[in-house]
């Protein structure tokens, strides 16, 4: 077995250093070494999107990266998007529009939704469906997730406009 390696990652705004086996996935390091269990593992082969995080501003599947590849990166997980007690509009919208049932895909969906709206402030339902095609939900049939993302987009645009 290879020696552990030290990895420095900026996680949700705070610098963290972990010592991991080189073969350890970023997803496992986030869950086990950083203790952030909101990042879920649904397939571990890059299809389901439950492990979606933002890495240096890009959406990535953390199960498809090794932790050592994230050395020096900035990552945002589901735990890092609320402003203290104030939920991110995407989080509020998922609850209000029943965009979640079991909640297992939800962290990845919320991060993917934020990414979509960051690139397209006013997405149509069809655009949302196409853009979020990399995330799987087994409970909702997607319709209410689409409604949630649309509703959040409206709030985010309004907030962005007033800022």
């Amino acid at each position: 077995m290879a020696e552990n390696m030290s990895v420095v990652i900026n996680v949700n705004g705070a610098g963290r250093e972990v010592s991991v086996e080189p073969r350890k996935t970023l997803a496992d390091a986030i869950r086990e070494d950083l203790g952030l269990t909101g990042t879920h593992l649904g397939c571990e082969h890059g299809v389901c999107g439950a492990c979606t995080i933002l890495l240096d501003g890009e959406v990535v599947r953390s199960c498809l990266m090794l932790a050592v590849q994230a050395d020096g990166a900035e990552i945002t997980t589901i735990e890092g998007i609320a402003d203290g007690d104030a939920l991110h509009p995407m989080q509020s919208a998922f609850s209000e529009y029943h965009g979640l049932q079991c909640g297992f895909c939800t962290p990845g969906m919320i991060l993917a939704g934020i990414d979509v709206v960051s690139r397209n402030p006013d997405p149509s339902p069809q655009e949302i469906r196409e853009e979020m095609g990399g995330n799987i939900c087994r409970c909702t049939g997607y319709q209410k997730i689409v409604e949630s993302v649309q509703a959040a987009a409206a709030v985010m645009s309004a907030e962005g406009g007033s800022a």
């Binding site: 879920h40 593992l41 299809v47 439950a50 589901i78 909640g103 469906r129 087994r138 049939g141």
Partner: protein
């Protein structure tokens, strides 16, 4: 209830109390649980469909640094199997063992387990296990498994027929039909042969457990994603040979269950056994390949139906044979789903003469067991395809043929020749509402002109019944189903007047915690914020006879209502004493206990009475201190949810791709507790139903017996772009024999989905004579059919 505040919460889209932690990433799923000192289990599974295990050399794995133990069949002395709880007459005995019993019978059957410091290390050790396999001939096709000379999968059964069960067409009143007479008399006999594909729930969260054996107290705590903790506790204790009183099951958040988590599995035993052996916490989390290989599959059936009809469209009789591909052995519910198919196949139609043979067949595949819908969607697919075939043969519009044969609203209770009693509904009204919503006549009209432009549009109707709210325990006894059908509820009022509700139901995404809180708040007439729901701990919650399912909240809700009735009666007795009034003159209303007619003057809050109940200084004769009640409700009958779906699709005849135009749902689930959550359940069940209708399939290679679709790259679940927006309308026919009028509805959406889709596709391609009789109707399968038809 008699107050002005009636139904403040029932019928309201109350926000889900489940959501707050989940949207923040603070859910607590099984993989998130890791007590100090936890070690990790990985499982070696058979790579062969059928192979004798002549020996396992564990030495190298055991020698690896960080490995704590290796388990094989040799470690199972004194450990029992899990039983098959549905044991129909004539069914050959069959159980679920913890490890392959001397030979592996399907790809994925557990052969050995390793426990190590980390999962990475445990998987390293699996590579060091040396198994001496003797490969045997296999069979993965249900008809081949029945042929002479087929490899026998379970030698003690003699052959691969596990059970042959006949529905003789006698209704619950003992009235028998005359199936031969019906077929002699009929103007037309229509035949159909249908392959219902093998697929399953494929929850996004895989299965898992954390077992904690406490050697000091000799107790086992199992953190488990099982949706039926009570039964798991009973069966696990029996298998391990320890007292059931020593086993506690704790249920965290569940990342989807869809019926698959209803079953008991080998790993339930293995992780517990490892923890008992090592005296430390042991964790096992299934990976996705394991989930596709070793979590139960569902649905797969080969159906042959014949329908006898007169030329005016009257259906006189239906007879069929259902071959259920059970996989290697019966799992927890045996051939239950296929039995339900036989019981439900006459659907909404007045078919007086019925006969169906159901055959459970063993093949070298993963066991086929509990999955959302449980035999109903399979039945609906067969009968709804048969109705369309009959309509076409007779030259009658498929909507009109249904109209002419439906049970009418004034014909309930209806005693079906499948043996079920339908409690209520208005089938024709649901059909008409669906046709109206989809603008049926207009779409039919457009169909022809579109076809002239090369657009192949099809309309598919499928109606359904969903017999839910399983069921009076006495009936389960008659069906040789060895569980009860009841649900218990304990409600405790604290000294401040707040309620805690203990339920055996387990929320797995459907919002049970919220809906039960709504029911309790309404019946106690207090604010929903003052109701706490406790679930997921067998040390605290009532035993549940049947276990959690998408269609069980209706039964659990009645248990809550009944317990609250007892609490209110006691509160009135105590309150009457305090108010110095006759109990007959005192009533419970608006969460207060008041003298009738003097509510302004002589009235106590629930908190006032509760405080007195806890002080117990002055209780009525015969009343015990505190304010709590437990009620175990055994339903009086099944409930039947029902409705009609209409799918409109365009088929690209060059590629076999199906494009959605519209999907309309009209459903009737009786009284609705939470409309928003009901809509969510319909959407979700539809995605399960349409997934299996269009994409999802466990494909086995005939030659090797391998499961080919063992990643999510190969097993295709519907994505955002595969499903349409659903248009939902409700009818409300309250169940006449459940308190509150609720019917189970969490599964209903998947019942007619495959029938509606296949009927729409067949309709779109009627000019070619293509018949979509096999699910899933994948683009490649459909393209082949179009190609063969010369399209």
């Amino acid at each position: 209830m008699t107050t002005t505040q009636e139904n403040r919460w029932i019928g309201v889209s109350a926000p889900r109390r489940e959501d707050a932690p989940l949207i923040r990433g603070r859910g607590r799923y099984i993989a998130d649980i890791e007590p100090a000192g936890t070690v990790h289990m990985a499982i070696l599974r058979s790579p062969y469909a059928h192979a004798r295990i002549n020996g396992i050399d564990t030495a190298a794995a055991e020698a690896l640094d960080g490995v704590h133990c290796v388990l094989t069949a040799a470690d199972l002395e004194g450990i029992g199997d899990f039983p098959t709880i549905w044991r129909l007459p004539g069914q050959k005995e069959c159980t679920t063992p913890a490890f392959a019993p001397g030979k592996a019978r399907y790809v994925g059957e557990p052969v050995a387990a390793v426990v190590a410091d980390s999962r990475y290390l445990a998987e390293d050790a699996l590579d060091l296990l040396d198994v001496d396999y003797e490969i045997l001939d296999h069979v993965v096709d249900v008809e081949a498994a029945l042929a002479d000379g087929a490899p026998v999968i379970n030698e003690d059964m003699g052959d691969n027929t596990i059970i042959e069960y006949t529905f003789p067409g006698i209704n619950a009143l003992g009235v028998a039909g005359d199936i031969d007479g019906a077929f002699e008399e009929a103007d037309e006999i229509v035949s159909g042969r249908f392959k219902v594909g093998r697929y399953s729930g494929v929850a996004l969260e895989t299965r898992g457990h954390v077992a904690e054996w406490d050697d000091l107290r000799q107790t086992l705590t199992l953190h488990s994603g099982s949706q039926v903790a009570s039964l798991l506790r009973t069966e696990l204790a029996a298998a391990l040979g320890i007292p059931e009183t020593s086993v506690r099951i704790l249920t965290p958040n569940i990342g989807g269950a869809f019926g698959n988590q209803w079953d008991r599995y080998p790993e339930d035993i293995l992780v517990s056994l490892a923890s008992m052996k090592l005296c430390r916490p042991v964790k096992w989390i299934e990976d996705r390949r394991e989930a596709l290989q070793a979590t139960v599959h569902g649905r797969e059936q080969l159906q042959e139906w014949q329908l006898a009809a007169n030329s005016d469209g009257t259906v006189l009789g239906l007879k069929g044979r259902v071959l259920s591909d059970q996989g290697a052995h019966l799992h927890s519910v045996g051939i239950g789903p296929a039995w339900v198919t036989g019981a439900a196949a006459v659907n909404q139609y007045k078919i007086a003469n019925y006969h169906c043979d159901v055959v459970g067949v063993a093949t070298n595949k993963t066991p086929n067991s509990t999955f959302r819908g449980f035999g109903g969607p399979e039945a609906m697919f067969g009968i709804e395809r048969m109705m369309d075939k009959t309509a076409r043969r007779l030259g009658i519009d498929p909507a009109e043929l249904r109209r002419r044969n439906m049970i009418q609203a004034d014909e309930f209770p209806y005693f079906s020749p499948g043996g079920a009693v339908y409690d209520s509904g208005n089938y024709p009204a649901a059909l008409e509402k669906a046709l109206e919503a989809v603008e049926y006549d207009k779409v039919r009209e457009e169909q022809q002109s579109l076809r002239d432009q090369g657009v192949y549009r099809g309309i598919g109707i499928a109606s359904y019944i969903h017999v839910s709210g399983f069921g009076p325990s006495a009936i389960l006894g008659i069906l040789d189903y060895y569980t009860g059908g009841y649900e218990g509820s304990t409600v405790k009022i604290d000294p401040h007047g707040r309620a805690t509700l203990y339920t055996g139901m387990i929320p797995m995404g459907q919002g049970t915690e919220t809906t039960l809180a709504q029911v309790a708040a309404d019946h106690l007439e207090i604010d929903i914020a003052n109701v706490r729901v406790v679930w997921g701990d067998t040390d605290q919650t009532p035993y549940t006879g049947f276990g959690s399912a998408g269609s069980r909240s209706n039964v659990a809700a009645v248990a809550v209502i009944k317990a609250i009735e007892e609490i209110k009666a006691k509160a009135v007795r105590i309150g009457a004493g305090l108010l110095e009034a006759d109990p007959d003159d005192v009533a419970y209303a608006d969460g207060r206990i008041s003298v009738k007619g003097a509510e302004e003057m002589r009235s106590l809050s629930l908190a006032d009475v509760a405080q007195q109940a806890y002080w117990a200084h002055k209780l009525p004769e015969g009343d015990q201190p505190t304010l709590e009640a437990t009620y175990v409700y055994d339903p009086a009958n099944f409930t039947t949810a029902c409705g009609t779906h209409v799918a409109v699709v365009d088929v690209d005849i060059d590629t076999g791709k199906i494009d959605w135009v519209k999907y309309v749902v009209v459903d009737d689930a009786g009284t609705i507790i939470n409309p928003l959550l009901v809509e969510g359940q319909i959407h979700g069940a539809l995605s399960n139903g349409l997934g299996g209708a269009m994409l999802e399939e466990f494909v086995y290679d005939e030659e090797s017996g391998q499961l080919l679709s063992s990643t999510l790259m190969d097993y295709l679940v519907p994505s955002f772009t595969d499903l349409p927006d659903f248009e939902i309308h409700h009818l409300v026919t309250p169940s006449p024999h459940t308190e509150g009028g609720f019917k189970g509805m969490g599964e209903a959406g998947c019942f007619p989905a495959a029938g509606a889709l296949a009927n729409a596709v067949t309709d779109a391609l009627s000019h070619l004579g293509v018949e979509a009789d096999q699910t899933p109707v994948t683009p490649s399968r459909l393209w082949s059919l179009i190609d063969q038809a010369g399209g």
